[in-house]
């Protein structure tokens, strides 16, 4: 129960952070990605703010054996920098640059009732489903 409630609160606070920072607005994100036009550096400061808090959180997590709810930490274990990581990130970055949406802001804009965001999220889920399908085929071979 507490586990699910914390998840909900984390999603809510995350969404409010995206709204306050302006990152739920694709035009503002594209203003950051447009180095050759009039460049809006705001997104860099969103990252600075988030990472400043994040570093402290991960430092605290590193000192603990279990979480505040007494659970195991499940952190990523992969460390290899491989083709999948780089090619996947290039494909993601291209999509991000096309519409100005990454997954979080798209969900928040969808919650705000933006029709284009709904279409983006459906297409994104289709892309994720396609990944699962290709993965299944890859593992089967």
């Amino acid at each position: 129960m507490g586990f699910t409630l914390v998840s909900f609160l984390a999603g809510l606070v995350f969404g409010l952070g995206l709204l306050i920072s302006g990152m739920a607005n694709p035009e503002k994100v594209l203003g950051f990605l447009d180095l050759a036009g009039l460049w809006d550096p705001s997104l860099a400061l969103v990252m600075v703010g988030a990472i400043a808090v994040g570093v402290i959180a991960f430092r605290i997590a590193g000192l603990r054996r279990l979480t505040l709810l007494g659970l195991e930490f499940r952190l990523p274990t992969k460390t290899d920098i491989d083709k999948r990581l780089v090619v996947g990130s290039v494909v993601f970055g291209a999509g991000w640059g096309l519409a100005g949406f990454c997954p979080g802001p798209a969900l928040v804009a969808m919650g705000a009732g933006e029709q284009k965001a709904v279409v983006f999220v459906v297409a994104m889920l289709a892309g994720m489903a396609l990944f699962e399908l290709l993965e299944k085929r890859r593992v089967a071979n």
Binding site: T4, S7, G15, S21, V46, G49, L69, K78, L85, V119
Partner: protein, 146 residues
């Protein structure tokens, strides 16, 4: 040289919003022991076991209702989406498949990964940012926009 859009630059709300995003990631990490990677939380729902589903759904619902929570206090900030539907669909597909192949997006790699000094996430973040810069340059300055 780079021309800074000083009129659009919003340093304080950017930092404050960023800090809130960090607090959200801290909550999920320190209570639940999970990484706040949105593409992973959402994409994982396609194959999650029933027991692994509620926390993922709860997080996504939290994101979806954030604008409603905001509306209780004030008017929503602008959300301007210039791209047309064909571009939106292509972009969504690319973001969906790319984030899953690359094991993360702006939140998982960009915020959480860099916060834990993961070289893998640093490479991913530098790569998707570079791809974003190049895409906007090509679309806006070479093709003249959509």
């Amino acid at each position: 040289m780079i021309d800074v859009a000083w009129a659009q630059f919003t340093p304080w709300t950017a930092l404050a919003g960023g800090a809130l995003i960090g607090v959200a990631a801290a909550l999920l990490l320190l209570f639940n022991g999970r990484i706040a990677g949105i593409s992973g939380i959402l994409g994982g729902m396609l194959t999650a076991s029933p027991g692994d589903m509620p926390w993922r759904a709860a997080f996504i619902i939290g994101l979806l209702v954030a604008p409603l929570g905001w509306l209780m206090l004030s008017d929503l900030p602008p959300i301007e989406i210039e791209a047309g539907y064909p571009v939106i669909i292509i972009a969504g597909l690319l973001v969906g498949i790319g984030t899953r192949y690359g094991s993360g997006c702006t939140s998982g790699h960009g915020v959480c990964g860099i916060s834990r000094f993961s070289p893998r996430s640093l490479v991913a973040t530098a790569t998707f940012m570079a791809a974003g810069f190049v895409t906007v340059y090509v679309v806006k300055h070479q093709l003249g926009g959509f």
